[in-house]
Symmetry: C2
Subunit: 237 residues, 2 copies
């Protein structure tokens, strides 16, 4: 049985401020929790309705999970992990950078996509949604356990970056005509405004996904979908 | 001022049953409503907080929109349109077929993606989420005004289909090694289970998106993201 105070503390982990203060975050769902454990993360505590064989846990009833879940429908398991310590970005592999991505589902999907293609590092502008937001953690389906997100002043970061910087824009050269450097960086912009002007100035190459025709078509593509098309091209042999 | 009965009727359009009964559906947000109007759809009624110059409307206050919206946050405009009449599928262009897609955001994103690449027809299994679900309409960003979704018994449809049928599977030949027929059909499976066994039997070619390594990686990709990567290949010159 969890105390009122414990229930409250777990619920408060929905906020970034409280996550930073406590150094903790929440993962829900058996697939996600298992991926963290399989990747060597040690949970502080695991609350589960069912028996588990891969980690020690506290058995709770469904009603308790309903009280602590960060979703409209609770899954059968909720675990609390320690936030990883701050790491310095250092990579000589292809990476992705995100400029002001605000939707948790989009960030989660991009993290999962990067994990699929073996991209280990994502640079996020400080105003990108926090990668330990419960909805992001959930939609990565566990990939956040293997992919590092670095939050920084993206403009300052790019100003000092030495490998080629590509950016997805509405105008540019078609993605299938560009040769991508194996140590390069792909910048993707926000859902509403694309790459911001101050970041656009720092791109070495603007890449675009041409629509099928000049006729009626959407103004833009969803950012996760656009990232997928460009990464699908880069990782095509 | 809307009557209690009118408010109730608009809210009931969240359910597919009520949409079928009344032959109506709801579109919210200025971008989405404008796309419908620009594509020649005539709204039955438009409720707007602001003045509009592209369609006649009933002015309402924000509190009224808060009462009729199908979202947690109302936008400044809500319009009601007539559902299109049933059309018979007939296409000699590349099309997409969806097997049991349940997430409205995924379906909306796929519709928007198809619209981007000029794909006009999507065949949906009867258990795929309804394309006039308010969340689907919203996430298409208006593309549903230009793309036709046909709901049918997908197994029966594919059994009678005469052009090559490709399907995205976890095992198959890599997407970048397949030549796609310009009149072909790409089948994408559900978020949880992929293409169902009864549909898989009817595929002519199984296509896959290989992960970067045999090491730890996600079990699968998000379905909209996987569709994007394969369509990005098909529409690559």
């Amino acid at each position: 049985m969890l105390s009122k105070n414990e229930l409250k503390q777990i619920r408060q982990l929905a906020s970034k401020k409280y996550r930073s203060k406590t150094g903790l975050f929440v993962a829900e769902g058996i697939k996600v929790v298992r991926e963290f454990c399989d990747s060597g993360w040690k949970p502080q505590v695991v609350y589960s309705v069912n028996e588990l064989d891969f980690v020690s846990f506290t058995k709770v009833d469904k009603a308790t999970l309903d009280k602590i879940t960060h979703f409209s429908t609770a899954s059968s398991i909720l675990a609390i992990f320690k936030l990883p310590g701050e790491k310095e970005y250092s990579s000589d592999e292809f990476s992705v950078a995100l400029d002001s991505i605000s939707d948790p589902g989009n960030l989660g999907t991009i993290i999962r996509l990067c994990d699929w293609f073996g991209i280990k590092n994502i640079i996020c502008s400080n105003d990108t949604v926090d990668c330990f937001n419960p909805k992001v953690v959930q939609s990565t389906m566990g990939s956040i356990a293997r992919v590092n997100c670095y939050y920084c002043d993206l403009k300052a970061f790019l100003s000092n970056h030495t490998t080629p910087i590509y950016g997805a824009c509405l105008e540019g050269i078609p993605y299938y005509t560009q040769d991508f450097d194996a140590k390069g960086l792909l910048v993707m912009g926000s859902e509403s405004h694309g790459i911001s002007p101050k970041i656009e100035k720092l791109l070495n190459k603007k890449i675009t996904i041409p629509p099928a025709s000049d006729g009626a078509h959407p103004e833009s593509l969803n950012v996760a979908v656009a990232t997928a098309i460009i990464l699908g091209e880069i990782y095509r042999p």
